[in-house]
């Protein structure tokens, strides 16, 4: 009868990432009537700042939207601006962009595996997956000179070439990672205790995923075959086709499996790419002023579709850049998924948010009286269990 509000802050000060946020649930009796998310702790105002810096400076600003997908942001931006300027980066540069993007995917997926394991309280898996992640970090550092913000991209090309030494490091790194990935696949699909925390949890059917605009591995784990690398190949992906990995169960376990299988696909792609790396220049000349126009650039970030809208009015600064990150749309999906469900189902649903899967640990009840009482994830969950028991 009375409407109550619950706020669930997510990860305000966690080492392991993400723009911190809050979820607010409005409930009527037991049914969730509204869910909303509040972000902004990491909002810096990048979309505005780009309008007062030149095209080159913006490359580095956009690269720093997030340190986990740094390269893919820069790539999306470069591809867009090049399209506007009517310039195409040379084939070797495009191939290197793909190479770095795929290496970044490896780092990102292993990072997620570790963080997710840490969340589940499986620290040993976290330690091992991050140990193995160092292999790819080392490769990236050798290739580009930085472990996180690679700045491999330039408008009109790339900065760094693949020489034989780097090539060998990559290849030997891949062999190691491949065996490890199979090993992790074994664990996430075999360890019974771990499975208790992933199997059947955070279910999302393919219809739901479709309707909710979920992207990336989360969508693919629900059987939605959507991957920009295949649907609308960019950079050099038309030359290096990949198999889209799809799982149909749509639970957390499927999300683990999709990511790990995607890694195997990535190793394969990198090997073919390095086999037939096109010769040629690394960059072409770019004008400082970009011809007026609007363009859209879509790429597949490790976490899903990344969307850029770029508008130029012919000057040396962009007129507008709109960035839609995959995490935002996944967050959006969860707030929608919540409505109409029992309060008791919330934990499982919120667990479906991509990057962290049990981060929703705290919630505050703001009662109509205006007083604020504390509810926790745990209390909510226990409430869930109790109510299931009652329902039988």
């Amino acid at each position: 009868m009375s409407k109550e509000q619950f706020t669930i802050p997510i990860g305000p000060q966690h080492p392991a990432l993400k723009e911190p946020g809050h979820f607010t649930l409005t409930v009527d009796g037991e049914v969730v009537t509204g869910a909303s998310v509040r972000l902004g702790y990491a909002h810096r105002g990048i979309e505005k700042a780009v309008e007062s810096r030149n095209w080159v400076q913006d490359l580095y600003l956009l690269e720093r939207i997030c340190g986990i997908c740094s390269h893919i942001h820069a790539t999306a931006y470069c591809l867009g601006v090049e399209k506007l300027a009517g310039v195409t980066a040379p084939p070797r540069a495009q191939a290197i962009r793909v190479l770095v993007a795929e290496l970044e995917r490896i780092h990102s997926h292993l990072l997620w595996l570790g963080v997710a394991a840490h969340q589940a309280g499986f620290d040993t898996l976290f330690m091992y997956s991050w140990r193995d992640r160092e292999t790819v970090m080392e490769v990236l550092e050798q290739l580009t000179g930085n472990r996180v913000n690679y700045s491999a991209n330039l408008l009109g090309g790339v900065k760094f070439d693949v020489d034989t030494r780097v090539l060998e490091t990559i290849l030997s790194g891949l062999d190691f990672l491949e065996t490890r990935t199979h090993h992790y696949l074994d664990i996430v699909s075999g360890d019974r205790i771990f499975l208790q925390r992933t199997r059947g949890i955070g279910m999302m059917t393919s219809e739901q995923a479709e309707r909710l605009g979920v992207t990336g591995p989360t969508a693919r784990a629900s059987g939605v075959r959507r991957d920009i690398r295949v649907d609308a190949p960019y950079a050099a992906y038309d030359r290096y086709p990949i198999q889209v990995v799809v799982e149909t169960t749509g639970d957390l376990e499927a999300r683990f499996i999709v990511r790990l299988k995607e890694l195997l696909e990535t190793y394969h792609l990198i090997r073919t790419l390095l086999d037939g790396l096109p010769e040629g220049d690394l960059k072409t000349r770019m004008p400082r002023r970009i011809a007026a126009g609007e363009t859209i650039s879509r790429v597949e970030a490790p976490r899903g579709e990344l969307f850029y809208f770029i508008k130029s009015d012919g000057g040396d600064q962009p007129a507008r850049i709109k960035v839609r990150t995959p995490t935002l749309s996944n967050m959006a999906s969860v707030t929608q998924l919540a409505v109409g469900h029992q309060l008791a189902d919330m934990p499982m649903l919120l667990t479906g948010i991509d990057p962290c899967f049990s981060c929703n640990d705290r919630l505050t009840t703001v009662q109509t009286s205006g007083e604020s009482e504390t509810w926790t994830w745990e209390k909510l969950r226990q409430y869930g269990i109790a109510s299931y028991r009652e329902r039988g």
Partner: protein, 139 residues
């Protein structure tokens, strides 16, 4: 209770040396391309300022001492720099490079991050003429 997959890992670890790199007692060699602190060589600089123009965070500044004789001084702030190497790309005369050795930059005083590069006498003359005003960044 399929835990033997992980068991293999931990038993291996028990009988192997940890992978831990014992920094700072031991330092691993750094990759050649590592982008550490920026270095500037005044000899070839023409004062074109291309490097300054595209720096995303105003970390470098070129101060002209004597334009005709190509005497410039560069002030660099490692505390602002994002180590993106765009300036290195922009310089057509290869005056700039990023050190692969100089990356342990931590300090307790922010002022230490600002360095002035240039020929000895130019730096002297710059500091000399600015010091009396007491505001080295005041131009």
């Amino acid at each position: 209770m399929k835990i033997e997959t992980m068991l293999r890992d931990i038993i291996q670890s028990l009988f192997h040396k940890p992978v831990t790199e014992l920094y700072p007692a031991q330092r691993q060699p750094t990759p050649q391309r590592l982008r550490g602190k920026l270095r500037w060589n005044p000899e070839k600089c023409t004062g074109c300022c291309l490097c300054v123009k595209d720096c995303p965070c105003s970390a470098i500044e070129l101060i002209t001492i004597d334009k005709d004789n190509k005497r410039f001084v560069m002030r660099y702030d490692a505390g602002r720099c994002t180590f993106c190497a765009q300036c290195v790309q922009n310089c057509r005369f290869n005056c700039l490079e990023m050190s692969s050795e100089d990356w342990e930059l931590a300090a307790m005083d922010k002022a230490l991050f600002t360095v002035t590069y240039g020929r000895e006498e130019d730096v002297q003359s710059l500091l000399g003429c600015v010091a009396p005003t007491g505001d080295p960044a005041g131009e």
